[in-house]
Amino acid sequence: MRIDLNGTTFTVVAQSLAEMLIELGFDGGTIATAVNGIFVPAAARAGTRLHAGDRIEVLAPMQGG
């Protein structure tokens, strides 16, 4: 399935957001997630099914003013 992750297209076998994070090597990081513009809390990632074309944002703490 092709999904859009942080503006880049990826092809993944994962069916859920949690599986996708593991598949793409995000596990263990300090991250927050959103799917199609809606925040998905960490506890809801396993239960969030992905669909082809989903826009996924994975954000992490960064420098800011």
């Binding site: 990081g29 927050a32 954000l59 703490p61 800011g64 003013g65």
Partner: protein, 264 residues
């Protein structure tokens, strides 16, 4: 200074962007004496684990001991800012949020309509909102009605280093909201400008570029810490009222009459 029932010792809040290195950032935070630092959320690349990417920066910030104020920098709509705030609350573990909703990409000035809309949503969801706003009094009223207990008017456009561009309007704002913590956010370029804001009775200043882009950021951080302290102490001491004409500070009474001429 109390911000949302949290006692904050320092009246200087420091941004964490644009430093030459993580080491200099760490030293600058310590040298400034600041109690609150701002941070953001940005896209993380695939393959980043616990020890890389944002996680490393996050460890550095936690080790600084400063309280975290995540921002919604770069958001141009209320929806975008609200979603970013939700993500920040989970990652940073705080309900504090510096709410930025930018209305123009060139001036980076706040969009007051979207700002109030986002503030209303976030306050109703239990966020403790620090809105980046202008000195407009009606916008400020609306933000307070929305539930904000702190306001952060700009001094000048973000990153411009121009100091307080609208001193009279900022003085009006200070006078109009005597009990509301007001933090000058953005545009401060020199310690003297920070001191000026504090002398006017603002509760604190938030700055980033002036320290990060200084020749010696650590020394500049120290200078800002001293300027903020000096300005606050001066405000509490009570500044003399300005006069239009000269008034001699040395007493005239008892002055010698040497009879050597000169205008009377």
């Amino acid at each position: 200074m109390r911000l949302y029932d949290i006692e904050v010792a320092s009246r200087l809040l420091l941004g964490t962007a644009q430093y030459p290195s993580p080491k200099i950032l760490t030293e600058a935070i310590a040298a400034s004496g600041c109690g609150v630092v701002t941070a953001s959320l940005r896209r993380e690349g695939p393959g980043s684990g616990a020890a890389t990417g944002g996680a490393g920066f996050w460890s550095l910030l936690k080790a600084s001991g400063a309280r975290m104020l995540p921002n919604t920098a770069g958001c141009h709509s209320a929806c975008e800012a609200v979603t970013t705030a939700h993500m920040a609350r989970e990652v940073f573990g705080t309900s504090w949020i510096k709410l930025e909703v930018i209305g123009n990409a060139d001036t980076l000035q706040p969009d007051p309509f979207a700002l109030v809309e986002a503030a209303r949503i976030l306050c109703s969801e239990g966020f403790e909102v620090f809105p980046y706003t202008t000195e407009d009094l009606i916008v400020a009223e609306r933000l307070l009605e929305a539930g904000c207990q702190v306001l952060m008017p700009w001094g000048a456009p973000i990153g411009s280093g121009r100091g307080l561009r609208h001193v009279d309007a900022l003085a009006s704002m200070r006078g109009h909201f005597p009990g509301v913590p007001l933090i000058i956010d953005a545009g401060i370029g020199a310690p003297s400008q920070a001191a000026q804001a504090m002398e006017m009775g603002f509760d604190a200043v938030l700055l980033n570029t002036a320290v990060a882009r200084a020749g010696d950021p650590v020394a500049m951080a120290r200078a800002f810490g001293k300027a903020v302290d000096a300005g606050r102490t001066a405000f509490e001491a009570g500044l003399m009222p300005p006069r239009d004409m000269a008034v001699p500070s040395t007493p005239i009474l008892g002055m010698a009459d040497l009879g050597l001429g000169g205008p009377a």
